[in-house]
Symmetry: C2
Subunit: 106 residues, 2 copies
C-alpha cells in the first residue's frame, strides 16, 4: 500500500464482509457455538452460513468440530487463535476509519 | 430484525462493502472528485471503480457530472445528501460494533 491510499483499503475482505464479520463477532462471544445457534443469531440460511464458514475455515480463522448426539451429527464452530487476531485487526482498522470519518464530520 | 440478532446484521452491504466504503469515505472529504483522482486514491482499476460507482449511483448515494475539458470528457463524482446520511449511519453501526467487540475483549 502506498501512503497516499485511503485507510479503507487496509480492510481485508475476508473479515470485513458483513456476514463473515457477524460470524467472527458471534464466535468471539463464545468458546464454541453450534451451527444452528450461529445460524439463528445471524438470521442466515444453512447454505449462506456454510458458504461463508468455508471461506473463514479456508483462511484458517474458524475451525469446525463434528460430534454425534443421539446418532445425529452436530457441527461446532470456534475461532482459531488466528481468527481472534484477525477480528482484533479488523476492529482496529474500523476504529481508525471511524475516527477519520468523525474528524471530517466535525 | 429480531432483538436476538447480532448488530453486525444492521450493516448495509451497499455502504459496508470495502471498496464502496472507501469511495464514500474519499468523497466525504471533498465537495467533488474527478474520476482518476478517486481511482488513484483507492488503487482501483477503471472497471472496478465504475462497477462500484454504479451500485452507489443506483442507490442514490453518489451522483456523477460529466464535463468536457479540451474536448476530452471528464467525470466528477460527489456524495448526495442521502449518501452523506448513509455514510454517517454506517459509521454509527461500525462504532456500535467496535464498542461491543471491545467490551468482549476486555
Amino acid at each position: 500500500m502506498t501512503p497516499e491510499q485511503h485507510p479503507a483499503l487496509e480492510l481485508d475482505e475476508t473479515t470485513h464482509q458483513r456476514v463473515r464479520l457477524g460470524i467472527l463477532a458471534v464466535l468471539s462471544e463464545t468458546t464454541e457455538c453450534a451451527f444452528p445457534v450461529l445460524r439463528e443469531q445471524l438470521g442466515l440460511t444453512d447454505g449462506n452460513l456454510s458458504r461463508h464458514l468455508r471461506v473463514l475455515e479456508d483462511a484458517g480463522l474458524v475451525e469446525a468440530r463434528k460430534t454425534f448426539e443421539d446418532r445425529r451429527p452436530r457441527t461446532w464452530l470456534r475461532l482459531t487463535k488466528q481468527g481472534r487476531k484477525a477480528l482484533r485487526d479488523q476492529v482496529a482498522i474500523m476504529e481508525k476509519l471511524v475516527a477519520r470519518l468523525r474528524a471530517e464530520d466535525g
